[in-house]
């Protein structure tokens, strides 16, 4: 297919030779672990899907304590295909978080964070945190009893942090407790603040990946490096994978629509066997390991500090892993990476099965 007039119109106005050259010359390394490169693309695709379904749902959702729950019931029962788009948004969110973790752990294990790509790791990590907050804020909007309990626990957990805890808690809740003000606040986070932040971060992340080129694991560096062109080989593969992912999300959305519990009642006890979203299970199980008091100190505070230290260490890992930065083998950090992955998987599984 060619459109000579459109081509002329563009050529007369813009010098696209650089773009063309770039598109032709962009190469992607080919090696044993090159499947990991697609995990980032999948997350990007899922973000786009979340943006589209989210925009549509925002047309009908009412962020008010008296109408939030009812408006979702209305979406799934009365609006054309409303049940489908709510389900799609739910499963899209689940898979986004899943693929973010896969992308993160893959990057961690092949040490793609090493010099000069520290900022790629940092922006990606911030995107994960944004996404988890996306999940939490989106979940509260449902305003059923599970959402209410989950947000109370999560914001309360932030409140256990020393010094700043109280401020963070009050800021997140928009008051001393989870109330109607929290819904409005979380709605603002979910549809305005977080989308803008994530767009910025995604832009930066993709730009940095473009700037540095994709990382090749140390063990796979060869001279000359075998490569494939991005256009069309890798691009087409990307699209094929996106299509498969879309198929999976749609199938899940149709066959397993998420349930809606009983409307939240701030004075009622939470339902039995209540569990948070799966990506919080790891934190929950970790908190359970700590006793109430440790040497006379508040056990929960210590537990939260341990979790924060663990996450911060992972966040800053490119700056600790000096050997990988020098291009040497860094066995200690491979072990640390494996510990992180195993801990995450085991604790999530324990939380899921208990």
């Amino acid at each position: 297919m060619s459109y000579p007039r459109l081509k002329n119109w563009l050529d007369e106005r813009y010098d696209l030779t650089d773009v063309k050259k770039f598109a032709k010359s962009k190469l992607i390394p080919e090696h044993r672990y090159d499947l990991l490169y697609y995990t980032g693309g999948i997350t990007l695709f899922l973000f786009v899907l979340q943006f589209i379904t989210g925009m549509l749902l925002a047309m009908y959702y009412v962020p008010h304590i008296d109408h939030a729950y009812e408006s979702i019931i209305e979406i799934v029962t009365k609006i054309n295909l409303g049940w489908f788009f709510r389900s799609l948004h739910h499963w899209g969110a689940q898979l986004t978080i899943l693929f973010l973790f896969i992308h993160l752990f893959g990057t961690l294990l092949v040490k793609a964070y090493r010099k000069p790509r520290e900022m790629v790791w940092i922006t990606g990590f911030i995107l994960l945190i944004i996404s988890i907050f996306f999940g939490l804020s989106g979940y509260l909007l449902l305003w059923d009893e599970r959402a209410f309990a989950a947000v109370r626990v999560a914001t309360g957990g932030a409140g256990a942090l020393p010094v700043f805890g109280g401020f963070i808690k009050a800021f997140l809740r928009g008051g001393m407790d989870v109330t109607g003000d929290t819904i409005v606040r979380f709605y603002a986070f979910h549809v305005s603040i977080l989308p803008l932040l994530s767009l910025l971060m995604i832009g930066l992340h993709v730009l940095l990946v473009q700037y540095h080129g994709v990382s090749v694991p140390r063990s796979e560096i060869k001279d000359p490096q075998p490569t494939v062109p991005f256009f069309p080989n890798v691009f087409y593969k990307d699209m094929i994978i996106w299509l498969i992912v879309l198929g999976v999300v749609v199938t899940l959305a149709v066959l397993a629509p998420p349930e809606i519990g009983i409307k939240a009642d701030p004075l009622a006890p939470p339902p039995a066997n209540i569990k948070p979203e799966w990506y919080f299970l790891m934190v929950l199980e970790t908190l359970k390991l700590f006793p109430g008091t440790i040497f006379g100190l508040n056990g929960e505070t210590i537990a939260i500090i341990c979790v924060v230290v663990g996450i911060s260490f992972l966040f800053l890992i490119p700056f600790f892993d000096r050997k990988a930065n020098r291009g040497e083998e860094s066995t200690v950090f491979t072990v640390i990476a494996v510990i992180y992955v195993v801990y995450f998987v085991v604790m999530t599984a324990v939380g899921f099965l208990s």
Partner: protein
């Protein structure tokens, strides 16, 4: 049968097939999205059922508003005591109209449009007369329906 010359190349065939598939895929997805985005609820009603006693004792030459779906409906008792109902929305730019008893006309303040007692547009920009409804009284119910609509009340 084997053609000596083909009208299209294999590449054109495959491109068309792939492009057509993409087109079908995206139009399907787009249709679904639009189906959701366009409003399902809040359509204009075919009829509304009101309480008769709320409207029976209004003075002659006056109107009483009622909800026609999301829009203004006007129950209208003329000077001679006969009744009518019309949609109180100007046919020009959808402003609500007001009844002027002293002139026996409906007036739209947005662009100075005038309608007479029967809803006919007599002055100003309105292009069409006001929509007039059928009024039927059924026991203690007052049924206001669009012209030509058969009213089927749910069995209580």
């Amino acid at each position: 049968m084997k053609l000596k010359y083909s009208l299209i190349t294999r590449r054109t065939f495959l491109n068309t097939l792939f492009g057509g598939w993409l087109f079908a895929f995206f139009s399907g997805a787009f249709y679904t999205l639009m189906k959701f985005a366009f409003p399902t609820l809040g359509k204009e009603p075919d009829f509304v059922v009101l309480d008769r006693k709320d409207f029976s004792d209004i003075p002659n030459n006056s109107v009483k508003p009622f909800a026609w779906g999301g829009a203004l409906g006007l129950y209208f008792k003329k000077e001679d005591g006969s009744v009518a109902a019309l949609k109180g929305v100007c046919t020009h730019m959808e402003c609500n109209v007001a009844y002027k008893p002293e002139e026996k006309k409906f007036y739209c303040a947005c662009h100075q449009g005038w309608f007479d007692e029967t809803g006919r547009n007599i002055a100003g920009p309105p292009p069409k007369p006001l929509e007039v409804f059928d009024v039927t009284e059924d026991g203690d119910k007052l049924i206001i329906a669009r012209k030509g609509v058969k009213v089927e009340l749910p069995k209580a």
